[in-house]
């Protein structure tokens, strides 16, 4: 399988007052197309920083980051925005939907930035919403939807540009167990369809849905293991 992400010896440090905080130290990682991967670690382990790197929201202090063979480390802010727009679908714990826009407009948003014309946007947004079972809710605003439905909207938005990876940060963190399970089931289906999925979580039972688990501690990769058994339905 060709790799989507290739990270070699990346480090990230921040200046906090007169102290330097090393959030990530010498992390190397390859993620292949079609993988279902979970990044785990306690708070302060560097998983949010790694997620920001993988999601092209930030660039490393040193080391190499290649996304689909393109060197991300040397990209401008606009280039990074284009990668986020076309290649990465984000799903967050807090859903990150535009509160005043309806479901359809929220899902269309990445396509607007990609410069896609109106009819095509509508067709693709409707297709993505149908995929997550929300075709009847296209004119509802986020506050008229349940938590699970909001997360489905976020997943539809993540899918609409047909990205190379879906990056999900604690996607069930704001949901009850039953709804969380449904969302994880949806991720499982997306993976079966061939999507590359990266989960960031601190919940063991959520990480168990993935086929590979990377454990971080103190900014370093502590363990990188392939989970043999397919857990839960």
């Amino acid at each position: 399988m060709p790799n989507v992400i290739n990270i070699q010896h990346i480090s990230k440090s921040y200046e906090m007052g007169d102290q330097t905080v090393h959030a990530l130290e010498d992390v190397s990682l390859r993620i292949d197309r079609g993988e279902y991967l979970a990044i785990m670690g306690p708070s302060g382990s560097g998983k949010s920083t790694l997620m920001n790197m993988l999601g092209c929201l930030d660039t490393p202090t040193s080391g190499l980051y290649q996304f689909n063979d393109a060197n991300v480390s040397s990209m401008t802010d606009d280039d990074l925005a284009r990668i986020r727009n076309k290649e990465i679908g984000f799903v967050f714990q807090t859903f990150n939907l535009l509160a005043r826009s309806n479901t359809l407009h929220n899902v269309e948003l990445p396509l607007i930035y990609a410069g896609i014309r109106k009819e095509e946007r509508y067709r693709r947004a409707l297709e993505a919403l149908t995929h997550v079972g929300l075709e009847q809710r296209i004119h509802h605003k986020p506050n008229e939807l349940s938590g699970g439905q909001r997360q489905r909207v976020a997943i539809a938005r993540a899918l609409v540009t047909k990205p190379s990876i879906i990056l999900a940060d604690e996607p069930t963190g704001n949901l009850d167990t039953k709804t969380g399970d449904e969302i994880m089931q949806l991720f499982g289906e997306l993976h079966k369809e061939g999507h590359t999925i990266i989960l960031v979580t601190h919940e063991e039972y959520i990480a168990e849905h993935a086929h590979r688990i990377i454990r971080l501690r103190d900014g370093r990769v502590e363990k990188d293991e392939v989970v043999i058994k397919q857990v839960k339905k």
């Binding site: 999601g55 929201l57 802010d77 606009d78 925005a81 284009r82 990668i83 986020r84 727009n85 076309k86 990465i88 984000f90 967050f92 990150n96 939907l97 535009l98 509160a99 005043r100 948003l109 990445p110 607007i112 930035y113 990609a114 410069g115 938005r157 540009t161």
Partner: protein
């Protein structure tokens, strides 16, 4: 970039966040009323001072040797800083006396004691007490000149007060500008902070920084235009109410229509742009 979308988003900002929009417009208007009021007060103060200065002229009285007046005039004109010297003969002095007091001095005293004189005006930059004093002393040295009289005390008073007033007013103006700018930028920044989540979402789904920034800036400029229009309305209203209570003889108030309107409008647009640019910038990295 999708222009229609940008404009729609900018105008949407007005509808969606009415309270913060009103607050931003109000802050711009308030800042401009203060700055505008200050400019008007300052302009009129300067105007009053220069009117008073312009009234200052030197009266150069001659000995009773009218025949040499042409020579004396040349000597006066040649002094650096002298703008003009008008000769007033003994007869003309008597005419002026008659005009002012209603009686012919030749009849009252049976002779004309009034000396011939020059009325000397100075160039603008020489109308300061020390420079005027130097010119007066130079004129006094010219043969045939008896005495030089001018409103020395008035000039000294204007000089001492205007220096003090200029420094106070520069300080007040600077503070006013700084405080109003800070006030406007903070209000707009707070309004934009309310949309922090939306900005974060736009970043996530791949909007470039300029695409995110532009609607805020366009909205800021709109707010600037509305804010400055409101400010101009308030200033004009206050100005007319105020000028009714002040006698035009004392104040001779001026309003600077075109320059002033352009300045306030320009400042409003700049404030709106400046506030929104820096307000949104902190959420983009």
């Amino acid at each position: 970039m999708n222009l229609k979308y940008l404009l729609k988003e900018s105008l949407n900002g007005f509808q969606k966040a009415q309270l913060s929009v009103v607050a931003s417009i109000f802050s711009i208007a308030l800042a401009l009323v203060l700055i505008g009021g200050y400019i008007i007060a300052q302009t009129n103060l300067n105007n009053l001072v220069s009117t008073l200065r312009n009234k200052v002229e030197l009266e150069v009285f001659l000995n009773n040797s009218e025949t040499e007046y042409k020579l004396i005039k040349t000597s006066i004109i040649n002094i650096d800083g002298v703008s003009s010297a008008i000769f007033i003969s003994k007869k003309e002095a008597a005419d002026i006396f008659k005009k002012e007091f209603g009686e012919d001095i030749n009849t009252v005293l049976e002779f004309n004691p009034l000396p011939a004189s020059f009325r000397v005006t100075l160039e603008r930059e020489f109308k300061e007490s020390n420079k005027t004093a130097i010119i007066a002393s130079k004129i006094k040295l010219i043969p045939g000149v008896d005495d030089v009289v001018y409103r020395k005390k008035l000039l000294e008073f204007i000089d001492s007060r205007s220096k003090f007033l200029t420094s106070v007013s520069l300080g007040v103006g600077g503070m006013l500008l700084l405080v109003s700018f800070g006030f406007v930028v903070n209000t707009i920044r707070l309004a934009i902070a309310g949309k922090r989540k939306a900005i974060e979402t736009m970043r996530l789904v791949g909007a470039t920084n300029s695409f995110i920034r532009l609607p805020f800036i366009i909205e800021g400029i709109f707010q600037g235009i509305i804010g400055s229009t409101v400010a101009l309305g308030i200033i004009i209203l206050c100005f007319y109410i105020f000028s009714k209570f002040i006698s035009s003889e004392i104040s001779n108030i001026i309003f600077l229509p075109t320059t002033f309107v352009t300045l306030i409008l320009g400042l409003g647009i700049f404030l709106g742009w400046f506030g929104s640019y820096f307000g949104v910038r902190r959420f983009l990295k």
